[in-house]
Symmetry: C2
Subunit: 180 residues, 2 copies
Amino acid sequence: MSKKLSNTTYAVLGLLSFGEALSGYEVRKWAESLRFFYWSPAQSQIYSELKKLEKLGLVSAEFVPQSGKPDKRLYKINADGHAAFSEWVNDAPLEPTVLKHSLALRLFFGHAAEPERLRELLADYAQTVEEALGQLAIVEEFTQHTPGFSFPALVAEWGRRYYEAERDTTAVMLERLDED
Amino acid sequence: MSKKLSNTTYAVLGLLSFGEALSGYEVRKWAESLRFFYWSPAQSQIYSELKKLEKLGLVSAEFVPQSGKPDKRLYKINADGHAAFSEWVNDAPLEPTVLKHSLALRLFFGHAAEPERLRELLADYAQTVEEALGQLAIVEEFTQHTPGFSFPALVAEWGRRYYEAERDTTAVMLERLDED
DNA sequence: GCCAGCATGTAAGGAGTTACATGATTAT
DNA sequence: ATAATCATGTAACTCCTTACATGCTGGC
């Protein structure tokens, strides 16, 4: 049917598929919550994705003059957009998960590191994992109690389980380093 | 010190840091085993990374004439390369993990999907997880019994734990979909 | 008085992929 | 016969990031 768009393009379209008209700025804020399981594109990319979607006729833009701030552009998904989005969710082939785990990469090459430094890196990582768990707890709580967010709630649970596993594994890795 | 190189560049340098001289083709094969926790760059990129490393003076290349095949270039890390690599492993700031989980992204937008299709996607994913676990079991077995591969063995364990968590979570997600 | 938040956009460039090209050898 | 393995490389392109530019409002 339509030429393939990137997952990122669909992610932006998907954020509009909840029905509300959003400005680029607002899309960006919502997109940040995707970072736990996808990743958050740069601000400039979100604006260009929105323009692309408009050119494709999947969303329409409405000007909202602002006083003091630049004019706001409110983007709203239309019928074609809904159709294209459903087609993607249902029919697109499942792409492999991409994991770029910098710490695992460096641990893999641990022979070139000072052992003490490796422990420090793992400890740092453990802390960022805790932070992510804290933020996810808020997201999970919110999505579970907000009608229409049952799917985001599922994904928040997925994220929580992922970070819990990371927490456990980090602890195991620290133990393994002490074994030798 | 030296200008920042990408993680991918260091990953290639790291594969050479085990000491053996490798051709681009061989680097590529080793790089494939990184895909469980990092990702495997395209063939063409590996060749260009190797050229970059040579230009930077971190590896040296030796021509090995072949009969029938294109001449082989054997790349070997040198002292500068070892130094630069250790510096990266020890001192580089820890970059955040990047996770691009296409299935989670689509589940997030599950309101636009047919419920039956979502179950199919999860079932598909469960299978690729099982395959990854099978391959990782082989890697883990091999690295645990090969001297000098204790760090890769740790990372293989990390990978196994990650995929085990994914298996569990996929099952939970399927249950959740049946609850409603 | 200053910083955070609102609000959009451009330019330059790096990182990475896909597709193509070539061709002998070995295993099925 | 034909597919897989060995072996390297280029060209075109997309995706995405970084850095910059602008400027008002509201809270501390």
